[in-house]
């Protein structure tokens, strides 16, 4: 049975494959729940801003409080995984 989490992960992978298709990153293979935005896909700050807009336009179809994903215990997280974003969307969309 496909869970909501799986659905979000698939949607995020489709979005991210399009998002990064002409980037120079060295990532090879299939993206999955463990794929990291900074560590694997070479994201920078401006890319995160653009991705938030893309998620809100393509997936959530509304504004989402991404601060709750990006901050943990008053500190900014070092990286994000696709699975982590999916979990966040389950909780806040």
């Amino acid at each position: 049975m496909t869970t909501t989490r799986d659905t979000y992960i698939q949607q995020l992978i489709v979005l991210l494959e399009d998002f990064t298709q002409d980037w120079d990153h060295e990532f090879e293979g299939r993206m999955n729940a463990e794929t990291r935005l900074l560590g694997d896909l070479g994201f920078e700050s401006i890319d995160i801003i653009q991705l938030v807009v893309a998620i809100e336009e393509d997936i959530s179809k509304k504004k989402v409080p991404f601060d709750k994903l990006l901050m943990k215990d008053g500190r900014y997280v070092d990286d994000l995984t696709i699975g982590g974003i999916a979990d966040f969307l389950i909780a806040f969309v």
């Binding site: 700050s45 995160i48 801003i49 653009q50 807009v53 989402v64 991404f66 990006l70 997280v77």
Partner: protein, 532 residues
């Protein structure tokens, strides 16, 4: 389809330079001969920019026919004072709270193309035509262009290169830095292929789509003038020209000669039935001194700096272009150099730092008086005018404007560095924005009136709509530039005032609901080191 209206934007373009480039100079000849011919056969005016003559608010006024108080765009970044912290976000097209010309023309059956204009990303969905936004990094240009357009351009245009075309944050930061000779020359050269890329796209779209309104903006003018003003200002020509001066002057002229070639090609392709307009968002001039405004406000007792513990993070924060202050002890401060303004902090509840709102007017009057006392070493007043926001930014977004906007004697932008003294002379004059840009017209129905009285930046949008044969929306603040047109043309095509624009003011109504969104973007910037 035939293009009715060709609009060529030239960021920061000024007649101070254009007049030189279009006349025969000893040893140089005419750098822009085609434009010289157009100017001789057309009409032109100085164009008064927005009260703070800056790219985002000014181009947004050009695209909406309204001032910043109405359209809501004031700066590159947007800040919210939250009584303890200031939150920052980047402005984008979703922040523009007045209908843009691209939508106004599209919903009345016209097709458009808008190339390299700021505040057009993400592209509005209700547009009939092509948008490739300006000020967007190469990695995000495809998704921020009209769907399918990027791929089409990539396939059709030989040499198409998004990296060469697009905004590069690391490179653009150099615009306001002090560069060595070699870097300065490279900076100017960097813009030559960039502009060629935008021209290639414009040529392709004009050739293949011939939209009713064809608009392209060249922004190298602004960038080059920031760094190389001393090589293009006729008032700063040295008595003896050094080899470096001649080389820099040469590469600047090469840029303007290229732009002349682009103009010639586009105007010729558009044909004799087309009306052609040129406008800049602001002009340019020389700034000769630096005003460290927050340092001066500290002297006056209005602000305290944040404690700098000497850590790498603190030093980086201090050197950034965002004010780094002790918010508990600050009542008036400047957030960013580009704002050229001062925010007054008002306490919204007991115990919150800031002045009591009932003291606002006397506090502000005293602050204005204090600001006007500042003199440079030669005894000249540094701040020549202080603009109150309700007088200069009326509209639904007035409260986003700085409480006070400063006009400096040399039109310079302030520094917000924590350095003394508050005013110093620059070692060399540098380029800065002048409130008067350019507005020019040429073509069928355009009079050969030469220079006419100064027009307002909000007049550009209604003039372009009029040229397209469309009515001017009743809620515009600007009006069609009738002095540009022949009497016959005006008699046969009277200016019509039509229905109000659509969709404006919606963001002002929903402002309170967006706090979460604002915070999240700020935190993203912070997380990845854009901001501390």
């Amino acid at each position: 389809m035939t293009t009715k209206t060709l609009f060529i934007g030239m960021d920061g373009c000024t007649f101070t330079v254009l007049n030189e480039m279009t006349r025969d100079l000893p040893g140089e000849g005419v750098t822009m001969p085609f434009l010289a011919g157009l100017m001789a056969k057309g009409s032109r005016a100085n164009l008064r920019s927005t009260p703070n003559p800056l790219t985002p608010p000014a181009w947004t006024s050009i695209m909406t026919g309204r001032g910043p108080g109405q359209h809501g765009v004031f700066d590159f970044i947007r800040a919210e004072d939250k009584g303890g912290e200031v939150y920052w976000t980047l402005y984008d097209s979703r922040d523009v709270d007045s209908e843009m010309i691209w939508s106004i023309a599209s919903r009345q059956g016209k097709s458009i193309a808008a190339l390299n204009f700021p505040l057009t990303a993400p592209p509005p969905k209700d547009v009939n035509g092509s948008i490739v936004p300006g000020f967007i990094p190469a990695k995000h240009l495809r998704r921020n262009s009209t769907p399918g357009l990027f791929e089409r351009l990539k396939e059709a245009i030989p040499g198409f290169d998004a990296k060469e075309l697009a905004w590069d944050f690391d490179n653009e930061k150099q615009a306001l830095e002090v560069l060595n000779d070699n870097d300065m020359e490279q900076w100017v050269r960097y813009h030559l292929p960039r502009e060629e890329q935008w021209f290639n796209i414009a040529e392709y779209i004009l050739q293949n789509d011939a939209p009713d309104l064809m608009a392209v903006m060249f922004d190298g003018t602004d960038k080059i003038q920031h760094q190389a003003w001393q090589f293009v200002d006729p008032n700063l020509v040295p008595a003896e020209r050094s080899e470096f001066y001649n080389r820099m002057r040469g590469v600047c002229r090469e840029y303007f000669a290229n732009v002349d070639r682009y103009i010639e090609k586009l105007v010729t392709m558009a044909g004799p039935e087309c009306q052609v307009f040129f406008a800049s968002d602001h002009g340019f001039t020389a700034t000769v001194e630096v005003l460290r405004i927050n340092s001066f406000l500290e002297d006056l007792g209005y602000l305290k700096w944040a404690v700098n513990d000497g850590s790498e993070q603190a030093l980086r924060r201090e050197a950034s272009d965002f004010a780094n202050l002790d918010w508990s002890q600050t009542t008036a401060y400047c957030r960013t150099p580009s704002s050229n303004g001062i925010h007054i902090r008002q306490s919204t509840k007991p115990g919150e730092p800031g002045i009591d709102p009932k003291d606002y007017i006397p506090f502000r009057d005293k602050l204005i008086a204090d600001l006007k006392t500042l003199k440079n070493d030669d005894g000249e007043p540094v701040i020549v005018d202080v603009l109150k926001r309700e007088e200069w930014f009326p509209g639904q977004h007035m409260e986003r404007a700085c409480d006070l906007t400063l006009v400096l004697r040399d039109n310079g932008f302030v520094s917000i560095r924590n350095i003394k003294p508050a005013v110093v002379k620059r070692p060399n004059p540098a380029g800065t924005h002048h409130p008067d840009g350019i507005f020019m017209a040429y073509g069928k129905g355009i009079a050969a009136n030469g220079l006419v009285d100064r027009l307002d930046i909000r007049d550009v949008c209604p003039t372009l709509l009029y040229s397209l044969g469309l009515p001017v929306p009743s809620d515009f603040e600007g009006k069609a530039a009738e002095p540009f047109f022949t009497e016959n043309w005006l008699a046969e095509h009277p200016v019509k005032i039509g229905r109000a624009t659509v969709g404006g003011g919606e963001k002002a109504k929903s402002e309170d609901m967006d706090d979460e969104e604002k915070r999240q973007i700020i935190e993203q910037l912070q997380m990845l080191g854009y901001m501390e």
